[in-house]
Symmetry: C2
Subunit: 114 residues, 2 copies
């Protein structure tokens, strides 16, 4: 029922899951390795991994016992693509802020507003 982008954003809306992805940037890792920095149970980590896997953000190796996790960047790229139309918007905002700050420095705030 849920569209892929919503599923991805929902999976990312959790600091533990984002920390797991951040770890996987440095390379593949097992569930035990991923669990190490967190003060939560292995089953809880496994549930987080299942959410990330369902969202297509990670994949798991096929080796029966080891099953290393790997970051899959395609869905993050989809989020980046969705953001694209808004990028211009905040760049514009910062341009306007720059103009405003420049006008402050020129002291025009004391004269006519421009």
């Amino acid at each position: 029922m849920t569209d892929p982008l919503s599923r991805t954003l929902s999976a990312l809306a959790d600091p533990t899951r984002r920390a797991i992805l951040a770890r996987l940037v440095t390379g593949e890792a097992t569930v035990n390795e991923l669990a190490e920095p967190f003060d939560i149970s292995l089953p809880a980590i496994s549930r987080h991994l299942k959410v990330l896997e369902t969202a297509g953000l990670i994949s798991r190796g096929r080796k029966a016992q080891w099953r290393p996790c790997r970051l899959e960047p395609g869905q993050l790229k989809a989020v980046d693509g969705w953001l694209e139309r808004y990028r211009r918007f905040w760049e514009d905002s910062f341009d306007r802020m720059d103009l405003y700050l420049a006008s402050l420095q020129k002291g025009s705030i004391d004269g006519e507003p421009n």
Copy 2:
């Protein structure tokens, strides 16, 4: 309890809320204007707006009756900043894919794997 980035990503994990933001790229809009393209009730739209406002993705005007909604790009910029470390990763992936496709074209797939 929820961190701002998680709240933002959670707010974005809904196609109606993303469509509302897409509409606000073109300028401020009232609740009635925002509700128009959707086959859902005004109270339901208001709930979506509340989620977006709590996440800092929109702000509402102070005029008592009209209260236009406006896109606030700061939190989207935070998502963009979070994505930054992963951007390199998928660019690398596409570079690797390019190399793979180039090797296919050179016919090296029929010889020694490289």
